[in-house]
């Protein structure tokens, strides 16, 4: 077994690490305080080749694959998790188009998405719930050459700034994924949520009222929308969450470790006190374990394995990644005492961001349901 990353993946990690330290770290606090979506930073990540990191070169992507994507999200989230969240959610519709779209759709939308000129959101969750998309109420009535969409979607990340929405809707008793462009009459953003974390990645409520879109906006085969939506959540969403979780955990761990080496109590660094040291050791070990399990999941996607085969590996990655961040962040805040609660020191903001991983790409409980189903079969 060769556990080595390829030299391209190693170089990518170093490059994104440097980018995050140089261009994200100095602005993290200011961005969170303003709460505005950082279009200019997204453009920079596009210039770095990260937005299209899993997209074929012919559509302006860099085709580095899903493990590279996870590493990039991890390094970014180490410094500024909301941007990691942008990739986690923004890549959902992007990947659906890339995998199931027509040549025409791909040529039209993928290059601007890869260049950071367009943003796409994924609209699945409804007021009735998100854990079970089969209860989707939003309808897309087929009338001649058009879909007429009616319904409401809630907690849709990026909807407020997106140029495109990838909408899961019911046609008769089957599901379709349909592209809706911003500004289409009958499509409105009705509200923005005020959330604990991820302050710069807007989460919105959207409404469709007799929204007419051409039939050619259908992504993939008619009636196959549910499978497309769910596979995107798995391949893209859950791996993204694992990456964000790893990044948040590492960022908090590194900050706490540095603090523990410098802060003195009873004449020596607090890191020499066993209780603190053991807490840091726990973080260290759990991060490593989560890392390898998550990398393995992403690596298998790159090997071409199907969702059916690796859905459980991916669910494990999301499960652990989310738990990891939510364990490490509060502990780091604790170790850093008063400093841990100060906005300037970043750990407390990462703690708030970590909370958002709970419902992202499926709740922790849904992950267990997925794994449970598999082991009981």
């Amino acid at each position: 077994m060769d556990f080595n990353l390829t030299r391209q993946q190693e170089m990518l990690r170093d490059a994104v690490h440097e980018f995050a330290d140089a261009e994200l770290a100095p602005r993290a606090l200011e961005l969170d305080e303003k709460g505005e979506f950082p279009f200019d930073i997204v453009k920079r990540t596009a210039e770095m080749g990260l937005v299209g990191i899993m997209t074929p070169k012919e559509y302006d992507g860099t085709e580095m694959g899903h493990l590279a994507r996870m590493i990039a999200i991890e390094e970014i989230s180490r410094v500024y998790p909301p941007l990691g969240f942008f990739f986690q959610t923004g890549h959902l519709g992007h990947w659906s188009l890339q995998t199931y779209g027509t040549e025409e759709q791909k040529k039209k939308y993928l290059p601007p998405l890869c260049r950071g000129e367009m943003v796409i959101c994924d609209a699945i969750t409804e007021p009735s719930g998100g854990s079970d998309p089969t209860t989707t109420q939003t309808t897309a009535e087929l009338a001649g050459n058009e879909f007429i969409i009616n319904g409401r979607k809630v907690y849709i990340t990026l909807a407020g700034v997106a140029d495109l929405a990838c909408v899961l809707a019911k046609t008769d008793d089957k599901f379709n994924e349909i592209l809706v462009e911003k500004g289409t009459p009958g499509f409105e953003i009705t509200r923005r949520e005020h959330l604990a974390g991820f302050r710069t990645t807007p989460v919105n409520e959207v409404a469709f009222t007799n929204c007419r879109v051409p039939k050619s906006n259908l992504i993939g085969q008619e009636g196959k929308g549910l499978g497309i939506g769910l596979s995107a959540i798995s391949v893209i969403g859950r791996t993204g969450v694992a990456g964000i979780g790893l990044g948040i955990a590492r960022g908090c761990y590194e900050a706490a470790l540095k603090f523990a080496k410098e802060r003195q109590l009873y004449g020596k660094p607090i890191g020499e006190l066993q209780a603190i040291q053991f807490a840091l050791v726990d973080m260290n070990v759990e991060i490593e374990a989560t890392k390898w399990l998550s990398y393995y999941a992403a690596w298998q996607i790159d090997q071409g394995k199907g969702i059916r085969e690796i859905g459980v590996d991916i669910a494990r990655a999301k499960l652990l990644g989310c738990d990891l961040a939510n364990k490490v962040a509060p502990k780091a805040v604790q170790i850093m005492g008063g400093y841990g609660l100060s906005e300037e020191y970043h750990v407390v903001r990462r703690l708030r961001d970590a909370l958002h991983l709970f419902p992202a790409a499926g709740t922790q409980e849904i992950m267990k349901v997925t794994i449970g189903r598999s082991i009981m079969a």
């Binding site: 391209q8 170089m11 170093d14 490059a15 440097e18 770095m48 080749g49 990260l50 070169k57 085709e63």
Partner: protein, 267 residues
Amino acid sequence: MAVDIIVCIKQVPNPEHFSKISLDPVTKTINREGIPVITNPWDKNALEEGLRIRERFSGKVVVLSMGPPQTRKSLEEALAMGADEAFLLCDRAFAAADTLATAYTLARGIQKIGHFDLVLCGNETVDSGTGQVGPQIAQFLSITCVTNVKEITFQEERKLIVKRALESGHMKVKVELPALLAVGQEINKPRLITAFGIMQAAEREPRVWGCEDIGAERDSIGGEGSPTRVLETLEHRPKRKGKIMTGSPEEMVKKAIERLREMGGLI
């Protein structure tokens, strides 16, 4: 007008970890194992300048380094940054070289690469910081050199105006190519490596050359070719028998000033 550029780079231990470098008390050798390495930051400025010149004119940017096998990583990064080709001069015989032997070796490497109009390098390295290799390479190549360059402007084919930083001010120098320019860090901000660059460089590998490949004379390379050698290495921990003041903050300050007065430190 094409300007062919050769950039010399060096891989050095990461300065943030210098305190971990230890001295083996028995063998008296420096132990650098496990210390993370980086490309000398000044050399990245040199490479960046080379890439900017190539963007304006055509030509090739070739990167060259002398070092142990792990130096590959720095050369791969240089390729990912945009260099066209990379060469690693790697041979046991090159080891233990002082700046003269290093410069000779690099000059032979440059001659083996072939045609060039401009050689660029960082003004100094963060580890030894001598700043000597640049001018010495120039001498071996029989070309002129200007160090501490903070700005390069092309006037016409093969004629440049170069600004060299001085301690207080700067010097304007007219340069006719071929030449070697050693650049300072203020000359530019090196670009970040992108996924685009990484993938474009995926097919390119640094080529490795040894002593025979570059036709180097054995007595001019490595330890043999080094007029200077280290006689002794000692750990340096300067100590003074100082006094730490005691008492309340006010008392400590008063005592410190009194002591300063006694020692003649106050005018």
